[in-house]
Assembly symmetry: C2
């Protein structure tokens, strides 16, 4: 307590030096720290002082200021008077100040700014005289009373706006600034009456009262609902508090030699190295933001005020060099002289982030590690997928879940076959379904994008779309899809087959009509950055790919192997589905074997293609996983057709469907349970894998198959399946006279497998964490059904994130960590990876690095993201990365 | 190796002393140890010797005897000759021996006995002379050759039996013993020819060859398929091996002054303290077993051979005192003189076990702890449920799963309403369904027993039946239920409505017709035993009860509270279901509240009844758990009716049903997720609980409600629900002006809850492990769907037991242990219990004791079993219990 009592509550800056520095963000807030640092750098900043954020908590707790604050503020005011040669509340040469909040982290919802504080009936007269511009003085006064009423007294803005508008209307005046002086004065009087009427208190004439009222208002704004919610959402501790910045006013509204603006040191959308921004002459800050007047591009300043522009360029260069990053600046020009009011790290697009980071390395400003650490991995999505032209005018229909990034326009179709047919003709189509199932796969291939009314971020539509890198909006619950009528209704509007819509899978938004799109570009900067990242990371990055095409795409994005090849997707096409159904309908092992014999060459062909495409990188093939009923038809007509194809009776088929139907298919006869009940399936799949591998190896191709047994709960399940795979491998190697080294491992996707990982690792050579299913079972939460409540859970902050989107490190992660530890206890060289939807999620990648896993695997379009995240994770583990950077 | 080399391989007994003792079971096997101990006790046992079980493993590995065995056996033979005054292979006074196997644990499938070994053409002549009974001598020889051929040469018994039978038929002789001497001699010759013909080898004439052949055969029989399977099933190590007992023959077939028999020292079926058994005069051992002659009850021996009987009684008394337990004896009387051939622990019924244990305590033979430790808890089932008269002749239809113990006969009905209607008229009915659902509940109440074709041991039918203590056979897959035709077919037979069947839920057997049943009795012995058990145990035992009736039943069985009161069962009856459906169909919170207001008084009434019945013991009430669609009708007619009842359209209802339908209901909108989405439900249930509690408390009743929030995955779910419950409690207490102390806790039934138990225990005052759901999620295994593969898993030994029947301590148990530990870290006095199906399972009770839980809770009829198991667990933890005892 003594320490904190001896610590200053107020930090002055001005006249070339400041009490604080940029390092004191926690105390001074971002804004205050920037002002102090700029002052110390000799950059023109109006003098002022910052009240420490530590005061905020005290004030909010006891609803009064700590006693020692008042003298410190008064001392600072005196220093400010000395620095400016003006007097706070003085009628001769009045000191006016701005009061602004500023926490350590940028945060919406808090009070922003009060300008021109210190004005009253006396000081306004002084300002009139000094500026020789009564209209300026009274406009400033009007602005101050208006802001104070809205912000400090928390009155509805509308009260003041309506008053002002009706006056302008009556006088037939378009702009505030065109009001005659008398009317300005009358407006100030009216505003004061409004305050008196609404609050029962007069507008405070004493500038000190004004100041303390504003300071209190800043602190109070820390606890508005919006601010609290924002902090909760972003894990910002309530104890952080906000600082208060009190800065001598400089005026951008003193005439045409004055102005105000904002600027980025580089173009935040392209990354181009040039000053970027806009400004308004004869204006104060809020004019730029309000949009009432259209600001000029910053380039124009070069001609209009070349001196100020040169100065701004110099300051920008200095600040960028100093902070070693793009800065977002606020400035005011008062009678030709430039003042800087704020500097902070500049937000930028994904494209810009990459270009800036790479160019800054080239300029010697930052290291390669810093460049890599700086890019939020998910920002790469903007480089990988088309986006909607930000200038386009759009007609929003509804918003669903942003299930697979990228944007696309097309005409609506409701049926997979129809999508395929039109797609072949080159028509751009968007497949709209209540939800998709594996039978819609060919339609999804043909479509430009997918829109579903049901299903979450890990629904069939979402997963398949991400795998193909196609935009998808899932779970757009407001749309009512009538597949029979070939239309969907939303919010009273109907969209029929053939009409154009645009789907933005990055935001979840669905628009009517066709929108202009911006194509993705990767280019040299991207490649350079990724090559650095690849050198830094430990984790290998693999791709989840089920087809040679996916495999090629993964390779193009830098995947170093396949982490998950789902063999079931291979069974859904044409003839294969028929053979698969024959297999399921077979009466006995022999009948199954006959049907499987037809599937063998097709599957072998797929594997050959995949092995070749992977050029010797490891390929993890998961044996058949889904419940068999997924392969059977549901529709009576289809059942009839199947009966004819297979020579069985409809009754027989229906009986089989009934037998295989499950109450909880997620927890039923699937995964290795299938292989145990029908060992012929495992044997066929193993044969296809090893025969394909031998064929590639015989032609001098390198090939590394890794056979993965899914859904193991008990080590003996693994042992039984492993025995079959090993026997088949030996048979194939013997008959082909060649041996291909392979690994045999399992997916850890049930809690029991994680809990008994030591036993399983005695038999399994690798673990791949199937985090989708592991999340489902650990939470007792079906992905397919979570839609009934998970959105509310997230909205109500019961859980902070969707555990199917982000890895739940405190629950599921605990199981994973336990399994890695147990597994490596019995097998030191156990290869460990993660596949499933979390594999490309940056926080999950960090987690995997911390667990010292060997690889992560994700859908093709997430591979670059995972590569970058893996590099950042490696840097973070080495301690050389500022973690806050990449996540801001 | 030196040690084992110096150790004897052969242990002699005879002339009043033995090399071995009863403690050397591992070496001597059960039989050998018993013979040694009896010899040392001075009990008349024919002399002999035992070859150590350690020889078995060596022999089986190298297929030859260890070199030092032969001299040791020869020395023992010489001692035996000295003890008997006879000569092995001697023609004058031939020594004959029996050769019998005997492992440390009794085990079917192994070679049992060869009698009369040592006979050949020479020695049989000696026996003829000595016995002065040529028929006896040749009959003995005939038996020996026959047994040797079947057992040592492994020839089909039928070869010998057919030969003998055809001779008897030809000579018109009924009994073997009536064959003339010549024919006996001819038979021996024929048997030898059979052996020569079938094996290509002559019958060994040399008694030493006979002996070594028999010893080898005993060892070989350790590895028969049946023996191996039995050991696998009972976790008996293969390395145990069997000993071989070689004992001087005494002859029960020397005439009417000779005989052989078996006896128990107490009645193994009633426990009555009297000699119990049977015997045959002029017979050898196998005659008693074969059933060719009907043995006499042992009482008759008292009159026929009073001296032998008195001696047998004396021996029985001595052995029981010595072994402090009921003995199962084999004896032979040779010319009036009694010889004991075996003593071992006597198997007994549940009734007998209880009575014997209690009476032995009264006799001062064993301690109360031993009495308690000795009863296998599940044997109490026989005392709690009716059983089928063991003498009844039955017509087996099929066998399903023994889902709820007890037996019942009744006429078949296929429909719940019909069952209720007939039940009201006093007709005994058995409800037969493909599977049951909550809507069948009233039919199950009315039925004497339940039979289902589908579903496992934890299916709806099984769980409800166990709760009511009604017999149930579930998953009888062979029966084909045609509910429309009101008949079921099994194995080509049809059973129609109205026909009688008998269901034995203890064995899973279903019989045609009505069987005689034996009623259960508890009585004084049971109460005495349980009162001892209650003093010894630490674990409290509660009952799972949803109604006042169940609660009373639980109290009668000694439950000390309710561990699980499932509130949803209260909503399925009559008006309640209608209100429940109104609630589900409501458009908004207000509509739900209106419907819930109708349910409130009904639920409050239930709780009042339950609180009163529990007389101040704690009552854990679980808030609504199942998915709402379980309450909605499926049948179009019912939907129509619901539409009329609620004034809603069929379309509306169908839409609601579609909205609520789930792909994996087990992992969907249920448990606390319901209460979070519809907080009105939680509030209504809390109000019903606390108002009922206040009403009881106002009338000076003691009441301890414990409110349990189900299916928590994340602590915030608990926090949100707890807030509602606490608010309602305070409101009720304020308005009723009385305060009832209560606890607020959660069910730990998802892996994530277990993994984050430390966080949850900060808020929850108790944990109750819902092991059913925890098993489902940990294994990723739906109880409802496991029937497609779990039976094969158990059959193929992939898993050793059904994890829904026995607690999976290495998987699920690991999570439980972790949760108990984590929970108590943040709340030292956390109350911990287990509910669900495992609560009454003895091994799970031991596990709970080891985890230092506070209580277990189970269905009413399992309460006594849990009480006993809890006492045994406490004894085991104290180390005073011989664990093997209770599980043999």
């Amino acid at each position: 307590m003594t320490d904190s009592l001896s610590q200053s509550l107020v930090y002055f800056f001005g006249q070339g030096r400041a009490d604080g520095t940029a390092a004191m963000k926690e105390t001074l807030g971002g804004k205050g720290a920037g002002l102090a640092e700029m002052t110390n750098l000799g950059i023109p900043v109006p003098p002022g002082f910052t009240i420490s954020a530590t005061v905020c908590g005290t004030y909010l707790e006891v609803q009064q200021f700590p006693p020692r604050l008042r003298p410190q503020v008064e001392t600072a005011l005196q220093r400010l008077e000395a620095a400016t040669g003006k007097q706070f509340g003085g009628a001769e040469n009045p000191l006016l100040v701005s009061v602004r909040s500023g926490a350590a982290l940028s945060m919406p919802g808090m009070m922003e700014t009060i300008l021109n504080l210190g004005l009253n009936e006396q000081t306004v007269a002084g300002l009139e005289r000094l500026s020789e511009n009564p209209r300026f003085a009274w406009d400033s006064y009007r602005r101050f009373v208006q802001m104070y009423g809205a912000v400090v007294f928390d009155l509805p803005k509308k009260l003041f706006d309506d008053q002002l508008e009706s006056r302008k209307h009556r006088l037939k005046v378009a702009r505030d600034i065109d009001l005659p002086l008398d009317e300005l004065k009358a407006t100030v009087a009216d505003f004061k009456s409004i305050i008196q009427r609404e609050t029962g208190k007069p507008f405070p004439e004493n500038p000190l009262d004004q100041l303390w009222g504003a300071i209190a208002a800043v602190f109070e704004s820390w606890n508005t609902r919006r601010a609290i919610d924002y902090r909760k959402l972003h894990d910002i501790p309530d104890s952080l508090g906000t600082a208060v910045n009190i800065v001598a006013m400089v005026f951008g509204n003193m005439g045409e030699d004055s102005g105000t603006g904002v600027a980025f040191t580089r173009d935040p959308s392209t990354g181009e190295h040039r000053l970027y921004g806009e400004y308004l002459l004869n204006a104060q800050g809020e004019d730029v933001v309000s949009g009432a007047r259209t600001p000029e591009p910053i380039d124009h300043l070069k001609t209009s005020h070349p001196h100020a522009y040169t100065e701004l360029e110099r300051v920008a260069r200095t600040l960028e060099r100093h902070f070693r990053d793009v800065q977002d600046l606020e400035f005011t020009i008062e009678r030709g002289r430039l003042y800087m009011l704020q500097t902070r790290r500049g937000q930028r697009s994904g494209h810009a982030a990459v270009r800036i980071a790479v160019e800054m390395v080239e300029e010697g400003l930052i290291s390669e590690e810093e460049a890599v650490a700086r890019i939020p991995p998910n920002d790469l999505n903007q480089l990988l997928h088309p986006t909607i032209d930000p200038t386009a005018h759009l007609d929003l229909l509804t918003t669903g879940l942003p299930a697979s990034p990228g944007a696309a326009s097309g005409t609506v179709v409701f049926e997979a076959d129809h999508a395929e047919e039109l797609g072949r003709k080159g028509v751009a189509v968007i497949l709209v379904r209540r939800e998709t199932s594996p039978e819609d796969f060919h339609g999804m291939v043909a479509a430009k994008a997918i829109l579903t009314a049901r299903g979450g971020m890990t629904s069939h539509a979402a997963v398949v779309a991400r795998g193909m890198g196609k935009p998808c909006v899932a779970g757009a619950q407001e749309i009512d899809v009538d597949e029979g009528q070939r239309r969907f209704n939303v919010d009273g509007r109907g969209i029929s087959e053939g009409e154009w819509i645009t789907v933005d899978g990055s935001t979840g938004k669905v628009f009517a009509g066709q929108a202009r799109l911006v194509s993705p570009t990767l280019g040299a900067h991207f490649n350079r950055l990724m090559s650095w990242a690849d050198e830094m990371r430990h984790l290998r990055v693999r791709v989840n790919a089920d087809t040679p095409a996916d495999t090629h795409r993964g390779r193009d994005f830098g995947a170093e192997g396949i982490g998950l090849c789902r063999t079931e997707h291979m069974f859904f096409e044409g003839d294969r589905l028929i053979s698969m159904r024959e297999m399921i309908l077979a009466e006995d092992g022999e009948g199954r074997q006959r049907a499987l014999a037809k599937l063998l060459p097709m599957q072998r062909g797929d594997f050959e293609g995949i092995f070749r495409a992977m050029e010797g990188f490891p390929v993890t093939i998961r044996l058949l996983d889904p419940p068999l009923h997924e392969f059977l038809p549901k529709d009576p007509a289809e059942i009839e057709a199947l009966a004819q194809q297979t020579g069985r009776s409809v009754k027989e088929i229906n009986r089989k469907i009934a037998t295989l139907s499950e109450i909880n298919p997620m927890l039923g006869l699937r995964g290795c349970r299938l292989g145990i009940m029908y060992p012929e399936i495992t044997a066929m799949q193993a044969r296809a894998i090893f025969e394909a591998a031998c064929t590639v190896a015989e032609r001098k191709g390198r090939v590394q198959p890794e056979v993965m047994i899914p859904l193991v709960a008990h080590v003996i399940e693994f042992r039984k399946q492993a025995l079959i795979v090993r026997q088949v491998a030996e048979e194939v190697f013997r008959s082909r006279q060649i041996t291909v080294p392979y690994l045999l491992g399992t997916m850890i996707e049930l809690p029991r497998a994680a809990l008994t990982a030591d036993e399983i690792a005695r038999e399994a050579q690798f673990f791949s964490f199937g985090t989708n299913d592991l999340t489902q079972t650990t939470w007792g939460l079906s992905r397919d059904d979570a839609g009934l409540f998970l959105p509310s859970y997230i909205e109500d902050n019961i859980i902070e994130f969707d555990p199917f989107q982000e890895l739940d490190t405190s629950g599921v992660g605990k199981l994973i960590a336990m399994a890695v530890d147990l597994g490596r206890r019995t097998r030191q060289d156990l290869k460990v990876g993660i596949c499933g939807e979390h594999g490309g999620e940056p926080r999950a990648v960090h987690f995997c690095e911390a667990q010292k896993m060997n690889y992560v695997s994700c859908s093709p379009y997430r591979v670059p993201i995972a590569r970058l995240a893996a590099a950042q994770a490696a840097l973070a583990e080495r301690g050389t990365m500022d973690r806050t950077r990449a996540t801001v």
